[in-house]
């Protein structure tokens, strides 16, 4: 069953007198439990596609269905609610809230959902342990290395048990060893918890780890390869 379904998706931006065609009619289905990499050069449209799937942006035309809900017909408030309940995000620059500790960052989504203090704290602690940050729960982002911060970002993305995790260049700011460890962590979470991951990435290591690689060029899908199939 598809967790993401994209049909004839178009996104155009106006820059002065020019119109930039970021996506030119993309069709894509992603099944639950997939570990998918969106690859392509800068400007190919992968981040735009990721943002549209995440409901952070609105398409010029086309349809996006995520977890059975048609994003193209949803209001901004409903898309916020969908992101809160069903999606997780990992960004290139970690983007943790600097004034909150690792465990507070991790439980932030659960707080927004209104879960009880005891329940969300326990889940956040368990999630941090699962990403290898046991003992660092009360450190602020400034007291953590880049790799550790990105692990907190992953913990924040998965603590709410989302249907889909969207990661935009998650290894771009990490050294190769740390990046590799992070990919292994996400692979393990995909394998053990059945979490669906979609990456926008340049990183060949992510491409190697991904079971499906979708290549974008000039706003269109150039290839769609599944490994081991």
């Amino acid at each position: 069953m598809s967790i993401v379904s994209v049909r004839n998706l178009r996104r155009e931006y106006t820059q002065g007198a020019f119109t930039v065609h970021a996506l030119r009619g993309v069709d894509l289905d992603i099944a639950a439990g997939e570990f998918t990499a969106l690859m392509g050069p800068s400007g190919s449209g992968k981040t735009t596609l990721l943002n549209l799937i995440g409901g952070l942006d609105e398409p010029t035309a086309g349809e996006i269905t995520v977890d059975g809900q048609d994003l193209s017909r949803m209001k901004a408030g409903d898309r916020s609610e969908l992101r809160l309940r069903r999606l997780g995000f990992v960004f290139q620059s970690y983007n943790l809230i600097p004034v909150l500790s690792a465990v507070e960052n991790t439980e932030f989504v659960l707080m927004l959902r209104g879960e009880s203090a005891a329940n969300r704290r326990q889940r956040a602690m368990e999630t941090l342990a699962a990403v290898g940050l046991k003992g660092m729960e009360h450190r602020r982002p400034s007291e953590l290395s880049g790799g550790q911060q990105q692990r907190v970002a992953v913990a924040r993305a998965i603590a709410g048990e989302p249907a889909l995790v969207l990661a935009d260049e998650p290894t771009a700011n990490l050294d190769s060893t740390t990046g590799h460890e992070l990919i292994e962590l996400m692979q393990r979470l995909n394998r053990e918890r059945g979490l669906t991951f979609v990456f926008a990435t340049h990183d060949p290591k992510v491409m190697e780890a991904a079971r499906r690689v979708v290549r974008l060029e000039d706003g269109q899908i150039a290839s769609d390869e599944r490994k081991g199939s």
């Binding site: 952070l56 942006d57 916020s80 992101r83 809160l84 997780g88 809230i97 989504v109 927004l112 924040r156």
Partner: protein, 414 residues
Amino acid sequence: MNFGLLFTLAARGLRRNRRRSLITIAGIAFGLGLMSLSNNIGYGSHQDMVKSAVGLMAGHIVVQHADYQDEPRAERVVANSGQIASSLAAAMPEATVLRRINLEGLLLSPLSSTAVGLRAVQPEAEAMVIDLDDRIVEGEWLKADDADAIILGQLLAERLSVGLGDKVVFMSQVGDRDVDSRLFRVRGMFRTGSPEIDGMSAIVNLEPAQELLPETDPATLVAVHLPDDRQTADQTVLARQLVPDPGLAVMAWQEAIPDIVAFVELDSAYSDAMWLVLGVIVALGVVNTVLMSVMERVREFGVMMAIGMKPRQLAAMVLMEGMVLGLIGAAIGLALGTLATWPLMHYGLDLSEMYGGESIEAGGVPLSLVLYPEIDTARLVVYPFIGVLFAVLASLYPAWKVTGLQPVQAIRHQ
């Protein structure tokens, strides 16, 4: 959304740029502290003024001729005033009930004459409610059995060139009656420090002044002085039942001396207007702090929106930052204002050097130039709310800016 989370985010957000937040808090605290101190001084002087006016010009409850307030003519008297005073005194045993006559006329000495306001009183009762007997600078206060005695303001005695024991004649015309006169002998002189009062006031016993008025046992007013102003409303109702005569008006002091009430209200309103201006200036400082704080965190807000925070929740967080600034500033400001008030409540604020005298006259009431502030508890409760309200209002614009953010653009913001 969780209030605790909003508060945590706001409080920690403000700690990111501590210096900027502290300067803003200091601005709020200083403004509110100054406002609180100034209000306490104003409140103290207003209380002093009302107390003086109630004592000198009225009473907590006043019985007068029904038309006297419209036009205070001498012949508009309370007849059988002794009986009325007795019935009020019997019903209110803790109160001091007294009678007065106010007459305008001419006071003549062998060498000079001048217009005066003659005040006829019951000396013992009067001494219990006003402090003129303590302000005698020559001679002595009135004695009830000395019908010829007159006490003059020191300046008035100088104008008439009279001293203790000298004779003066008071002349007055009441209504359609012929001009009448009465001889008095100077027994004492008082000094309030107010040239208007010291230069135009004379005090005599009630009985000789009654001879100048129509009706039986007349008085300009019967005044009831209560031990506590908070009893005024209830006891006025009782007094109205005891004095049902439609030709008489039974009033609480607020009705009896409306000029004083209006003066206090106007003075308070003027002060409030000044503080409103200061509040707006401080609020602009809060706008700057919160707006800067918001503009520095656009990317962070973008991430928060991406992970599911709604624009209104972000706006609530920004308003909470203003509220936290306001709360801390208000708490410090009130503490500062109260601490600054404390020594002045005991030692007073002496303005006599500035005004060059001992007292000033306002609305016919001598006011001491040594001001003793009082803590205005009603406003003490209101001020923190005003501080927080201004800070929250000042955060509305930054909060509104946040609601317009688009997640994708905000995340890319550098």
